[in-house]
Amino acid sequence: MDERPDPWAEDLRAERGRILEAALSAAGEPIPAARLASLFAPEPLSAAELSAALTWLMESCAQRALELVEVAGGWRLQVRARYAPYVARLQPERPARYSRAVMETLALIAYRQPITRGEIEAVRGVAVSTGILRTLLERGWIQQIGHLERPGRPALYGTTPTFLADLNLRALADLPPLPEASENDPAPMPPITEIADETVPSAADPAR
């Protein structure tokens, strides 16, 4: 047989490829091969013709940011993984907000460090979930800075230099001063030596 490509057949293949491209571009989800073939009503494409058209489309994607892949539900045109970060940039999600629990925990660690989980719980009156601490640890804002020599050896938490940098502070001393003691707490500033007088309910210290 003649091996030269038939220009008419080549045009036909390209046009079919473009039709597949149009359908896959707008679909946004995988399309089964049978459905793609049936686009060419009234005469659906044969398996070989569909395959040839898909190959054309795949090749035409070579220099593009898109790729044609076969996934569970059929064929899908998708952005190459390499370009996904740019797409992500397009839709900056609204910055999340930390829950009150996270903010209070962070405030306690910032102002009262080093502090154990049990101490945080004693002040907040509720258990501190592991998720809260993990959130702050993963953010790089708090760190374990040792253990308390008590039964269970609870971890002590403090803030990190990252925390200071992210909050635009040079030192912890730059944190805003706490409000004056409220009427509930008319006691004057205690001398430093009283710090340790705090009741640290060791029983409340779950070993994390």
């Binding site: 992500a88 907000r97 102002y111 040792g146 001063p177």
Partner: protein, 277 residues
């Protein structure tokens, strides 16, 4: 959609000053005005109101909007209205208003006209109706034009390609130092309600130094002396703060102090670590 009459066959305009029904036009009117009542309902639904109906009556006879044979159009219009009223009363109000208007125009055209001054334009009673019909006709064509424009989801399809491994770059929450102070203040207020535990403001530098010392000791290969925990640039205050912090830590049993021999400086390390290990 009502088919408009093909353009190009409009009658020649007659001088408007003739305030009479022109018989020659009447003879050319098609006689197919009667529509069976069941069909009427369907037809009426195609009309967007009395102007639309009038426009239809005018166009299907290739008449010029600018030269309406009011008497004949009014007669036809009334024919529709009669049928309309018998079927769909609730639709009738606007159609009736138009009927009254047409009747008024017709009667004014039939009245003898006062002689016109030489420098005065004769006002045609149809003028306002013509203006409104033209205005409506324009908007109708504009609506058709708009409908013919390519339209998203009908003729246009935007790309909506999937993005694999979609990892939204979610910016982490922003926290201002003030937020922390507020959170802490709220905590103080709240804690007063449920606990005997008292929270007080503290001198930060000592607490900060305590953290720093612990971090330092944690990272150190072995015990450290007090000298290693502060720098000269911090001055005496720095030394005092460091010293107080270490005392605090020792008292809280977070740090142990160990003196290998009486003259040697204290060696500090995290509590729980074997000093000899």
């Amino acid at each position: 959609m009502i088919e408009s009459a093909a353009p190009g066959t409009a009658v020649l305009p007659a001088p408007l000053v003739h305030a009479r029904v022109r018989g020659e036009l009447l003879t050319r009117l098609p006689q197919d005005l009667y529509i069976p009542p069941d069909a009427l309902e369907v037809v009426l639904e195609s009309f967007e109101g009395p102007l639309d109906l009038l426009l239809y009556l005018i166009r299907r006879q290739n008449l010029d909007i600018l030269d309406i044979p009011v008497a004949e159009i009014t007669r036809q219009y009334m024919g529709y209205i009669d049928l309309l009223q018998s079927l769909r009363l609730e639709l009738a109000a606007e159609y009736l208003l138009m009927a009254a208007w047409l009747a008024e125009i017709k009667s004014r055209l039939l009245l003898p006209r006062p002689p016109v001054q030489a420098d005065e334009e004769a006002e045609d009673p149809r003028a306002e109706l013509v203006r409104r019909l033209q205005e409506y006709a324009r908007i109708r064509s504009a609506a058709d034009q708009l409908d013919a424009l390519p339209r998203l989801e009908r003729d246009l399809f935007p790309m909506a390609v999937a993005v694999p491994e979609w990892v939204p770059e979610r910016p982490p929450p922003q926290v201002a130092a003030r937020d922390l102070a507020l959170a802490f203040a709220a905590l103080i207020q709240r804690s007063a309600l449920f606990t005997h535990h008292t929270i007080r403001g503290e001198v930060l530098s000592i607490r900060e130094r305590m953290s720093a010392v612990l971090a330092r000791l944690d990272g150190a290969a072995g015990p450290l002396t007090l000298d290693a925990l502060w720098t000269r640039q911090e001055g005496r205050l720095g030394l005092v703060v460091t010293f107080l912090a270490v005392l605090e830590l020792i008292r809280e049993q977070r740090v142990t102090a160990h003196q290998p021999d009486p003259a040697a400086p204290f060696r500090l390390q995290l509590a729980g670590i074997d000093p000899d290990g």
